[in-house]
Structure formats: structure tokens, C-alpha cells
């Protein structure tokens, strides 16, 4: 239990800091920390495969990619001031409205959860689900989505290459 609270707290605080930071590099690094906490939570949930995959793929690949892009672009810091000529729906006000909606969503979900009562009970006793079992299920029951996903990755790759290409100079 204490682990749960520990990992949970780390994840939440890191996420909050991600969205609060000015410097995008700090955001990326904090997100990696959050992912680490999440990975711990996965271990607590008897899902070691997912935990490791999280570290390898998410923290290791995707975040590194983000880091590359951040440094490549040499992004300037965000400007805080806003001028009056900006369209009213682009001013901070409506954006804060959106954030408030997020809070509303949490409230809704929490309320739903409390109403459900004991539906969310304790986890049943069970063994750790092995990688072997996952692999078996993946290549039999979920074979089709598996192949489609590979196609998806191919498409994404091609797309990324083309989108990021430099304009041909005349």
C-alpha cells in the first residue's frame, strides 16, 4: 500500500510539474520520472511485461524523441504577456475554462466511482501473468490488430519522414 501511495504521489506531482514548467526540457525530464512511477504501479498490478515495455518504449524511445525535437528546435520560452487585439476566444480566459472542465471531469468520475460503491472491490487472487501468456494471446486472438498495428507504424514512419523533410531549395 505504501508503495502505491508513493508511486502514485510521484506520478501526480511529476505530471503537475510537467504542465507547470516553463522550460520544455524540464517538462520532458519530469515526464520520464512520471513514467517511471507508473511503471512501478504496473509492477504492483502484477504486469511486469507492461512495466518493462513502458520503460523501454515510452521513457526510452518516445521521450528521447521529444528531447531530440526540443533541442533541435531550440524552442524559445513561452511569452506570458498577451495583447488586447487577440480574439476574445483565444485569450487566457477560455483556456482556463478548459482547465476548469478538466476539474469537472475528475469530479464526475470520482462521483461515479463513489456511487458504484463496492463494485470496485479488491483484486482477486491471481498469479502474475507471464510474458508467455501475453505472447500467446497476442499472436492468436489479437493477431489481426497486431498486423494492422505494424502497418500503422509503417505509415507513421513514412509520414514523419515526408512531413519533416526540408523544402527543396530553388
Amino acid at each position: 500500500m505504501t508503495f502505491f501511495y508513493l508511486f502514485g504521489a510521484v506520478a501526480v506531482i511529476a505530471s503537475l510539474l510537467v504542465i507547470a514548467q516553463r522550460n520544455p526540457i524540464y517538462s520532458v525530464l519530469l515526464l520520464i520520472a512520471s513514467f517511471g512511477a507508473l511503471s512501478g504501479l504496473y509492477v504492483l498490478l502484477d504486469a511486469p511485461f507492461v512495466a518493462v515495455t513502458q520503460i523501454i518504449v515510452y521513457a526510452g524511445a518516445i521521450m528521447v524523441l521529444f528531447l531530440f525535437v526540443v533541442m533541435l528546435l531550440n524552442a524559445p520560452h513561452e511569452d506570458t504577456e498577451h495583447d488586447e487585439r487577440v480574439h476574445p476566444l483565444r485569450r487566457p480566459g477560455p483556456m482556463r475554462f478548459g482547465a476548469a472542465l478538466a476539474v469537472a471531469l475528475v469530479v464526475e468520475l470520482l462521483w461515479a466511482l463513489t456511487r458504484a460503491g463496492s463494485a470496485g472491490g479488491a483484486f482477486p487472487e491471481g498469479a502474475v501473468i507471464s510474458v508467455r501468456a501475453i505472447g500467446k494471446s497476442l499472436f492468436t486472438d489479437y493477431a489481426f490488430p497486431f498486423e494492422v498495428t505494424s502497418l500503422l507504424i509503417l505509415v507513421a514512419m513514412v509520414g514523419a519522414v515526408i512531413l519533416a523533410k526540408r523544402e527543396a531549395r530553388q
Binding site: 480574439h87 476566444l89 483565444r90 477560455p94 478548459g98 478538466a102 471531469l105 461515479a112 456511487r115
Partner: protein
């Protein structure tokens, strides 16, 4: 055979209307005259056949086709000839023929196309009028009723380029229309109450009911019908169109506004004598209005200076006499006066037309005088007509007018008799005033300024042959026409048409000869007195007349301005109507409400679009925010349920 009577003039109308432009005046005139003379011939033959039948079966009917069949109503285009309508068709076609012949000379200065147009209208009018009097049901009669109103409008406004003429035509039509409103209401009430519109069926249905039973409904019905009659026959309050109608050519005034169309109202009452007999209240109203109209018109005619206007008011006045007769239940006397009046009034109008023709369009009597020696035929025929209308025996007017006065006295309406007598005095007076001013006295028409619009007509020629023929024939008629009434033959002839007189309406008529003779002598004395007054004031001692006019200048001005009746109508009816239409309905409702509503809808749509447009900010995050907003709402809804 009956159908031929209105058919001939209709054919004449069609020919002249379609080809008139290409026909010469001689041909179109001949066609028009031929059609109406043929109609007269057929009418005479039909009447002769009618007379040959036994007295209580005198009726000829002919149906062209079944016009309307709808539910219980079946109306055929049926013409029916009985004693009453036989008198009418002879008057219409006979005097109509004379007027057609007269017109060929009178209208000769018009262009060929206008000439043909005139005759086409005249023929059409004759056709409609014949349908009116021959119709066997209210519907057929109404076709004629409306048709003559239309032709009246067309003919009054014949010289339509002249604004006063087209205005007069419109006025006539509109005032007629107001009367027609009453008429239609009456017809509708008849249909709802009795289920039939045929005259004979209606008379039969009504006569089977007692007066007490039918009093309420019939009073309304007859009142409405009478309103229609006041419009068509120019009685109070709808007579204002007739003097204006003098804008039309004089033969038109003679035919339509003296002899035929304006008598349609009188005929209508005569035709529905049974209905009116069951509504004594309405009959009283008819008599009172008739008498009042006679008096008022007579007073106005006394001070008018336009020769045709005097005759117009005279017509209104004489029509009042006819309605007085109908109102006291003396239907035959009313029709008798209609018949004699047609002769001498047409004669007087045509005579005045000859004067106007000779003076190249001049109508103001103050510029006339001493025309007696230049226009002998015109003069002598005119005098005959004037004497006839004054009611001097043995001329026609005496018989009919005396009959009316006698009947009104003997039926107990002594006041009406007295006013009628006074009006007879006025009639004689103003008519001879006209004669003396026009034909006698110093000649004024040669002493005019050079700048006048009419050139002094030094070669005054008397009426050309067609006009003279018409004048002479009518003059003879004005003398002898009344003689058919001697011994009550005319009345007896018409009796079957009027049904049984209801006992409660006509009190016992005095048959004592002495009272009748006394009243007769009183009438004659009054007529002669009227002529004498005119003689004194307008021939012997003209300045006395002028002095009298100045002494009573107030009343004189009122009379000259026709009791300001036109002005009163304008202020009371026309102006408010215009204000309601223009400011109220047009600006208020149409522009203010309806337009605003429609424009408002458009503006509303535009306004909301302006507001909604702002949501397209271009900021993707705003779009995402709205999507998320929807998610939260939907999720909340499902969770709540």
C-alpha cells in the same frame, strides 16, 4: 323568339367592337341602328302575341340553357315576358331606336373608331337592359343590372381623356356598387329564406304567407333591395352620381339616365310587388324617400345654370315621383309615369343636345338666349316636352303625375301628396325657366369676349335630319302617350304582374269622382302657376329674379352647391376611408407589421449568424475545448442516469 330581343343588340355590339375601327361611320351606325330596330320589331311582335292571349294567362317564357345547378339551386337563363316587362321592352327598344338614330348625327364629328366604340357601347347597354327586364329570376336580372352599370360607366366616361368625364364614370360606378351591396344582400337573404330566386316561385311562396309572419324578414329583404334601387335609380342618399353623369354625350344621358337604366330600380320594385306588399314599413320608407328626393332635387334644379344639369336633377326628381307611387302601393301608376317620363325626358335631353350641337358645345344657359327663331324644330319640340313634364293636360305627363298624386292622397298619405304638389310647382317652374333662358329673351351668346374658348357660332343650324326625326317622334309621343291610361286601361293591363294587393297596405281607394276631379284641377292649377312664375321671373322681369337671388343669397348658394352633399360625402366617407387605407392599413399594417415581421426574421437570422461566427476562431485549442465540453456533458449525463 324572346331571346332575339336582347340578342340583336348584342350582335351589334360584337360587330362594332370587333371591326368598328375598319368600318366607316355610315356602316357602323347602320349596323347599330338596325340591330336595335330589329329588336324593337321583335318586341312589338312579342307584345302583340301577348296581348292576344287571355288576360290572366299573359306570359311567354323562353329558356336558353341551364346556367347553374348546384345542390338545390337550379337557375336557368330564362327570359319571361309578362305585361310589366312588355311595357319596359317597348320603351327600351322604341326610345332606344330613336336615340340610336339621333346619335348617328350627334356623334358625327368623332373619329371612325370612336364612333364605332360609342355605338358598340350603346348596343351593349340595350342588350343588358333588355336582359334586366326580361329576366325571370334575380340572378338573370342581376346580370343585366351589373351590365347596365358597366355600360353606364363606359358611356359616361366616353371622352375619357377628359379628367372630369372619367372621374364621373368612376363615381357613377362606385356609387352604384354601394347600392349593389344592398341589392346582393337582399338577394342572398331571399335565397336563404325562401330557397328560390325565380320571381314567380318567390311571389307564390310569399303570397301564401300572412303579412305578420313575414314582416321581419321581408322588411329587411325589401330594404336591402331598395338600397340597391337608390343606387341605380339615383335616390337619396345615392343620387350624387347622376348630375356628374352629364359628362357623357347627350344621347347617353337621354337613353341611360332618363329613360332606361335609372328606371331599373322602379321596375325592380314593381317586379317584386308581392314582396314589398308584405313589408309596409319598407313601402313607407320608399314613399318618403321618393318624395324627399323629388323635392330636394327640384329645389337644386331651380338654380342650376348648366342646361343638362337642370335636366339631370329633373330626372332625379321625377324618379322620386315614381318611387312615391311605388311606396303608396300604386305600382301601375309608377310604371305609367316611368313610361310617359321616358318620352318627354328623352325628348328634353335630345332637344338640349340639339341646342348644344348648334352652339358647338356650349352648355351654360346664361350664354344662351333668343334661339327660338334659329332653331324652330328644336324649340317647338322642346316646348312640347316641357309642357308635358309640367303636367298640363292633355299632354302625357299630366295623366301619369296626376295619377300618382291622386293615389297618394287617397291612400291617406296627405303630407306626401302636399309635398308632391309643391314639387310639381317647382317642376313647372324650373323647366320653363330653362325654356325661357335658352330660347327667349335677349341673346347672350353673341356678346362674348374674343378670348372665349368657343367661337361665336354665327351659323346656327337647326337639328340635322336624324336628330329632327327623333325629336318629332318623341314630341308626338309626349302628347299621345298618356292617353293609354285613360279609363284605367293601362292599370288593368299591368294588374297580373303585381299580384293581389294586400288588404292592410292599401286602404280603400276612394272611387268618388268628385274628389278625383277636384284634385285634378288642383294639379293643373299648380302646373299653370309654375309656368306663370317662370314666365314672370325669367322672361318679363329678369332683374327681379336676380334681386331675389341676392336677397336669399345664403339659401341660393346652398342650392347652387347641391346642399354641399358631395362635400359632405367626401369628408364623411371618402377621406376617412383614405386615411384608414393609407395610414392605417398601408403604413400601419403592411409596412409596420408585415414588412417588419419578414425583415425581422431576416435580421434575426443575420444577427445570430454574426454571433455564431465568432466561434470560428481558428484556434484549434478552442475547438478542442468545445469538444471536451461536450464530452464532459455527455459523460455527466450518462453517469447521472
Amino acid at each position: 323568339m324572346l331571346l332575339l330581343i336582347p340578342l340583336f343588340p348584342l350582335v351589334g355590339f360584337l360587330v362594332n367592337a370587333s371591326f368598328g375601327r375598319r368600318l366607316s361611320k355610315g356602316v357602323s351606325g347602320a349596323i347599330a341602328c338596325a340591330s336595335i330596330i330589329l329588336s324593337f320589331a321583335v318586341s312589338a311582335a312579342a307584345v302583340a302575341r301577348l296581348v292576344g292571349m287571355p288576360a290572366d294567362e299573359r306570359e311567354i317564357a323562353q329558356t336558353a340553357f341551364t346556367w347553374i345547378t348546384s345542390g338545390d339551386l337550379s337557375v336557368g337563363l330564362t327570359l319571361r315576358l309578362d305585361p310589366l316587362s312588355s311595357v319596359m321592352i317597348l320603351v327600351i327598344t322604341g326610345i332606344g331606336s330613336l336615340i340610336h338614330i339621333y346619335s348617328t348625327a350627334y356623334m358625327h364629328e368623332e373619329r371612325d373608331s370612336e364612333y364605332a366604340r360609342y355605338f358598340s357601347y350603346l348596343n351593349l347597354f340595350a342588350s343588358f337592359m333588355l336582359v334586366l327586364v326580361l329576366g325571370s329570376s334575380f340572378l338573370v336580372m342581376f346580370v343585366g343590372w351589373e351590365g347596365v352599370g358597366l355600360c353606364s360607366y363606359l358611356l359616361i366616361g366616353f371622352w375619357y381623356q377628359k379628367k372630369s368625364a372619367s372621374d364621373a364614370g368612376k363615381k357613377a360606378f362606385i356609387v352604384n356598387r354601394i347600392g349593389d351591396w344592398g341589392f346582393i344582400l337582399g338577394v342572398l337573404l331571399i335565397f336563404t329564406r325562401f330557397g328560390t330566386l325565380d320571381f314567380q316561385d318567390l311571389a307564390r311562396a310569399v303570397s301564401q304567407l300572412s303579412p305578420e309572419q313575414t314582416f321581419g324578414t321581408l322588411s329587411f329583404i325589401t330594404l336591402f333591395l331598395f338600397i340597391g334601387a337608390t343606387g341605380k335609380s339615383a335616390q337619396i342618399p345615392l343620387f350624387v352620381w347622376l348630375p356628374d353623369a352629364m359628362e357623357g354625350p347627350t344621347p347617353v344621358s337621354a337613353l341611360i339616365h332618363a329613360a332606361t337604366m335609372v328606371t331599373a330600380g322602379v321596375y325592380m320594385i314593381g317586379r317584386n310587388a308581392v314582396l314589398f306588399g308584405h313589408a309596409p314599413l319598407t313601402l313607407n320608407i320608399v314613399a318618403v324617400i321618393g318624395t324627399a328626393t323629388a323635392l330636394i332635387a327640384g329645389t337644386i334644379g331651380l338654380v342650376q345654370n348648366d342646361i343638362k344639369k337642370v335636366l339631370a336633377y329633373s330626372t332625379v326628381s321625377q324618379l322620386g315621383y315614381m318611387f312615391l307611387a311605388m311606396g303608396v302601393g300604386a305600382y301601375a301608376a309608377g310604371i305609367f309615369h316611368l313610361y310617359t317620363h321616358a318620352f318627354f325626358k328623352a325628348l328634353l335631353f335630345l332637344g338640349s343636345g340639339a341646342v348644344i350641337h348648334a352652339l358647338a358645345g356650349e352648355q351654360d344657359m346664361r350664354t344662351m338666349g333668343r334661339l327660338k327663331k334659329d332653331l324652330p324644330i328644336t324649340y317647338w319640340t322642346f316646348v312640347i316636352g316641357a309642357v308635358a313634364i309640367a303636367g298640363v293636360p292633355p299632354f302625357a305627363g299630366f295623366f301619369s303625375k296626376d295619377e300618382i298624386l291622386f293615389k297618394s292622397f287617397s291612400s291617406g298619405h296627405t303630407w306626401l301628396w302636399a309635398v308632391g304638389l309643391l314639387t310639381a310647382l317647382l317642376t313647372a317652374c324650373y323647366m320653363f325657366r330653362l325654356v325661357f333662358m335658352t330660347f327667349h329673351g335677349p341673346s347672350h351668346h353673341e356678346h362674348r369676349e374674343p378670348g372665349e374658348r368657343h367661337e361665336p357660332h354665327h351659323h346656327l343650324h337647326d337639328a340635322p335630319l336624324p336628330m329632327a326625326v327623333a325629336l318629332v317622334v318623341l314630341a308626338v309621343g309626349s302628347v299621345v302617350a298618356g292617353w293609354v291610361g285613360i279609363g284605367g286601361r293601362f292599370e288593368k293591363f299591368l294588374e297580373p304582374s303585381f299580384g293581389e294587393p294586400v288588404a292592410s297596405v292599401t286602404p280603400a281607394l276612394e272611387q268618388s269622382g268628385s274628389a278625383e276631379t277636384l284634385l285634378m284641377w288642383i294639379s293643373v292649377a299648380v302646373a299653370v302657376a309654375g309656368i306663370g312664375l317662370a314666365f314672370y321671373f325669367f322672361l318679363k322681369n329678369r332683374p327681379a329674379a336676380d334681386r331675389m337671388a341676392q336677397t336669399f343669397s345664403g339659401p341660393h348658394r346652398v342650392l347652387e352647391n347641391k346642399y354641399y352633399l358631395d362635400e359632405i360625402y367626401d369628408a364623411a366617407v371618402v377621406q376617412p376611408l383614405q386615411i384608414v387605407s393609407q395610414d392605417g392599413l398601408w403604413k400601419g399594417v403592411d409596412v409596420g407589421v408585415i414588412d417588419r415581421l419578414v425583415n425581422g426574421v431576416a435580421q434575426f437570422v443575420g444577427g445570430t449568424s454574426e454571433i455564431l461566427r465568432l466561434f470560428q476562431t481558428g484556434s484549434v485549442r478552442a475547438y478542442a475545448a468545445s469538444v471536451f465540453f461536450g464530452v464532459v456533458l455527455v459523460l455527466g449525463y450518462y453517469l447521472w442516469r
